[in-house]
């Protein structure tokens, strides 16, 4: 090793490594920084240690070396007015709070169009990482700076999990940047395409079809989803072509989108297929009954149902795009459910010559299990409030309808359910509640507490939702006082403390944001 030593220090290290008894250091001049302190009269081992001590000190004194590094770019500006310090503190507490309050407060802040203080960005983004339901609101709150942080850090940007959503942030002004389309990652390109689609649907379609052949399978799948914004009959030829795509998920997306275009060939074919099989009839016992028959295999084949993703092979096909639960389904009912989930709802009114309420009430009990969820799914996908409201009155209506149905009807249904001790609806009810719902919850709580003398799981659910749903412009002091008395008597003051804190956080945030 001595042969390669270029400096006194290198020679010293080599000699020490082999042992100065075995090999003396090569005779080289010491570094001038330490040379004057070295003495010639030392024995070899001491000379090595002395050199090492001086070198260590010189190295220590010169401190940390320069590194080759590039400064990171500054975060994009955010000109929204800043969230007040009090509001930011309340939001920080809300992030730690139970689900109903956490989601409500995040949505509230997102709607308020305020800039969160820099110190809140990371807690918000970490919440979004672990809690998918909080993502949409967080993405709106953090704005373009969220994407900036995710790009610059490995833990927030971990596996690009949040990036796609962050790039889609409407607060960002980068969606006009064509560079994103030509050079961006797929999430940025989807964002650009969605933005363009909002401004000029035809241009977006042209841009997508132009380079379609050169896109990879996973990219095609994600890019195609951008067409959902501003979908119209003009997109039909392209979507029809996508039905022949080699990638199954691309075909499924195209099938779903075609079904959403009321005048599409797919809709027409499905409607023609189903029309002779669904009719309103009069039975002996009931006034009106909706009857179904299932199209035959030949009929399905003639309508190329298979090509449009209608599966006849039970629930194992994976073509369950309308999300209907197919457990234990026989294949005929399964076909009916798929068809009902895809056909645009106004068709039924025209075909059957009846209003949604009448059609829903004509569904027989044995059919309801299959038909009501399928029609509800269609109402949700098509965002049809009239149908959602009509379906809501059915005893087996799924609670997901609460989100789009007429709020007054929703309130009636929830109040009715609360009287029977059913609290499930509270999760889906828009907040703040109408005063009648709040009163009904307090009443249901009192009834529960009178009967059980303690906090039941239903009571606990009510206690979690009350601080989120209460309309704050009404004084609920008397009812809350009753809660406190019940809590002291029933030994669950710790749960009430959570209620108090939640109500406090919400009151503060509402006050700060208005």
């Amino acid at each position: 090793m001595n042969e390669h030593a270029n400096t006194h220090w290198e020679a010293t290290v080599s000699a020490a490594l082999l042992g100065v008894n075995n090999r003396r250091p090569a005779q080289l001049d010491a570094d001038p920084v330490i040379a004057e302190y070295l003495s010639a009269q030392q024995d070899p081992a001491t000379a090595v240690l002395h050199t090492a001590a001086l070198t260590a000190t010189a190295r220590n004194a010169s401190g940390p070396p320069r590194v080759e590094a590039t400064a990171i770019a500054e975060a994009p500006a955010d000109d929204r007015p800043e969230l007040s310090e009090t509001a930011a503190r309340a939001l920080a507490h809300a992030l730690e709070a139970a689900a109903p309050l956490r989601y409500r407060m995040l949505r509230r802040v997102a709607e308020a169009h305020r800039r969160p203080p820099a110190a809140m960005l990371v807690p918000l983004l970490r919440t979004a990482l672990r809690d998918t339901a909080a993502r949409e609101a967080v993405v709106r709150i953090v704005g373009a700076r969220g994407a900036w942080i995710a790009e610059k850090t490995s833990d927030i940007g971990w596996s690009g999990l949040l990036l796609a959503e962050l790039y889609g942030t409407p607060e960002g002004n980068s969606d006009r940047d064509e560079q994103l389309w030509t050079h961006g990652i797929v999430a940025q390109r989807v964002m650009y395409l969605t933005g363009l689609r909002r401004r000029d649907p035809a241009a977006a379609l042209a841009l997508l079809t132009g380079g379609w052949r050169s896109e990879t399978g996973p990219d095609r799948e994600q890019l195609l989803s951008a067409l959902e914004t501003g979908l119209s009959a003009a997109d039909e030829p392209f979507l029809e072509a996508c039905l022949r795509d080699s990638r199954k998920k691309v075909r499924a997306t195209a099938q779903r989108q075609l079904a959403l275009i009321p005048e599409s060939g797919l809709q027409r074919r499905l409607q023609t297929l189903v029309a002779p099989h669904v009719r309103l009839g009069r039975s002996l016992l009931r006034a009106t009954t909706l009857t179904f028959t299932t199209p035959s295999g030949d009929e399905l084949a003639a309508a190329s149902a298979d090509r449009y993703g209608i599966s006849t092979a039970g629930n194992a096909s994976g073509a369950n795009s309308n999300g209907v639960n197919t457990n234990g389904a026989n294949s005929k009912q399964w076909v009916t459910a798929q068809l009902l989930g895809r056909i645009t709802l106004p068709f039924w009114e025209a075909h059957l010559g009846a209003a949604p309420e009448k059609i829903v009430s004509a569904v027989s009990l044995e059919d309801a299990v299959r038909v009501i969820p399928a029609l509800s799914e269609a109402a949700l996908v098509q965002g049809d409030r009239r149908w959602a409201t009509a379906l809501l009155k059915h005893p087996t209506a799924p609670v997901s309808l609460f989100a789009i149905a007429d709020p007054a009807c929703v309130a009636d249904v929830v109040i009715d359910r609360l009287r029977r001790g059913d609290v499930v609806g509270l999760d889906h009810l828009p907040v703040p509640w109408p005063p009648a719902v709040a009163t009904a919850v307090f009443d249901a709580f009192d009834a529960m507490h009178r009967r059980h003398r303690t906090l039941t799981p239903e009571g606990h659910t009510m206690l979690l939702h009350l601080p989120v749903g209460l309309p704050l412009d009404i004084d609920w002091g008397r009812r809350i006082l009753a809660l406190h008395e019940a809590a002291t008597a029933g030994m669950w003051t710790n749960h009430l403390a959570i209620f108090d804190e939640a109500l406090h956080i919400r009151t503060v945030l509402e006050r700060e944001l208005t």
Partner: protein, 432 residues
């Protein structure tokens, strides 16, 4: 309040109890705070807080200290929800009196009868043992370079641990812990350069041994520095007898370190008038609770007594118990941020006085930067750069706090880079 809590979950639990709904029989005087908290059991928990300490007592079985009840009561009190009381109730008064009596006994108890002859004999005996340990260390080092230390990277612990154990026996714990760091030196950095790094560490140890052999020729400061690195302890009373430095001390950084069964807390303070950094080191058994200190960014008026030796950062706070209660005299002034070059020169000055120095406090102004690979760095306005020792999580906090703009970073400047402890944003010091 939150700095008194054992952990974050306790703060959360305390916050949930900070409501009048669960408390009864609460009251407060200038020095004490008490109340009964309804829990899951039949009998409420009785909680008493001595506000002078603060010290806590609660009848709950929680192993956390202070428990959530004490924290909740404190929060309730700070929210102004506890009424002033004229007199302290019986149980609280008994406990507080007991504390006073014990404190008085401790204060007035005469120190152990000093026996100068015996003390001198003990000191001489220790010096002999240390000298014996150092002679052994020096021989071991000479042996390594005479016979050659190639292959030592194969099983470093087997080579270094017995030596460290003998140095502990020789009452030189400072040297022992430096020897225990050696296996880590082999793996920290470019694998091809381990002989360089190790030989420099050998040199440092050897020089400490030489310096210890010549203590009588050195000035007082250097003697104290050498003795500190060898591992002689300085009695608290001796430190407290040194003249105090009074200033508005602002807490500018804190970090904890897990040692064997012990947690060490390093807290950096900065004095506005003296422009001086001070470091307090405290130790508790793992899982224990440190005494309350002001949170980072808060200043308090206090007298600090500095340990002898260079570079003169380590200090003790006089009137230990008065710290949390003392009103903050003013908002405090954070240290002025310098260029990286300036910080390097300051550090070199300290190394000149203490060649064995590891880290020097520094406040540097710059922008965050990334080095090729995964390195993080700070670049100042002159293009000078220094590596930042941060984990990805702390890096994220830095990125979000600075938003890519210039920022003052308070940290420990080591031989390889800067360990950031806090940032200065809008004149506020924010802990990382």
């Amino acid at each position: 309040m939150e700095s008194a809590a054992p952990d974050a979950s306790s703060v959360g639990a305390g916050r949930k109890l900070a409501t009048t709904a669960v408390w009864s029989g609460t009251g407060a005087t200038a020095t004490a705070l008490w109340g009964s908290c309804a829990g899951s059991g039949k009998k409420p928990y009785r909680t008493i807080v001595d506000l002078r300490g603060p010290a806590f007592r609660c009848s709950c079985p929680s192993r956390k200290f202070p428990c959530k009840h004490a924290l909740g009561l404190l929060l309730l009190w700070s929210a102004g929800e506890v009424a002033e009381a004229a007199r302290t109730p019986g149980d609280a008064a008994t406990w507080l009196d007991g504390r006073d009596t014990r404190a008085a006994v401790k204060a007035t108890a005469p120190a152990k009868p000093a026996d100068p002859e015996r003390a001198a004999a003990t000191a001489a005996q220790r010096a002999d043992r240390v000298a014996g340990g150092i002679a052994e260390l020096t021989m071991w080092l000479e042996d390594q370079v005479s016979q050659g230390f190639s292959g030592l990277d194969g099983d470093p612990y087997a080579r270094f641990d017995p030596l460290a154990a003998r140095l502990v026996d020789a009452q030189a714990p400072g040297l022992a812990s430096r020897v225990r760091e050696l296996p880590g030196v082999l793996t920290a950095g470019d694998p091809a350069d381990w002989p360089d790094r190790l030989l420099m560490r050998f040199g440092e140890l050897w020089a400490l041994g030489v310096a210890h052999g010549r203590l009588s020729e050195l000035d007082d400061d250097t003697v104290a520095t050498v003795r500190r690195h060898v591992g002689y302890t300085v009695a608290k009373a001796d430190v407290l007898s040194r003249p105090p430095v009074t200033d508005d001390w602002m807490a500018v950084g804190r970090r904890t370190e897990e040692l064997d069964h012990i947690t060490a807390r390093h807290m950096w303070f900065y004095g506005a008038d003296t422009g001086r950094y001070a470091l307090t080191l405290e130790y508790v058994p793992t899982g224990g609770v440190f005494a309350a200190r002001p949170p980072v960014g808060v200043a308090f008026r206090a007298r600090l007594h500095f340990y002898p030796g260079s570079p003169g950062h380590r200090a003790l706070i006089a009137d230990e118990n008065a710290v949390p209660g003392d009103p903050v005299s003013r908002t405090g002034v954070p240290p002025a941020a310098t260029t990286i070059d300036h910080a390097r020169r300051e550090r070199a000055r300290s190394v000149a006085a203490d060649p064995w120095l590891r880290a020097e406090p520094a406040t540097v102004r710059g922008r965050l930067a990334v080095a090729p690979g995964t390195g993080y760095a700070l670049i100042d306005e002159h293009g000078e750069s220094v590596a930042l020792h941060v984990d990805p999580e702390r890096w994220t906090t830095l990125v979000a706090t600075t938003l890519g703009g210039p920022v003052g970073v308070v940290g420990e400047l080591g031989v390889d880079g800067l360990l950031p402890l806090s940032v200065i944003s809008d004149g506020q010091v924010i802990a990382l």
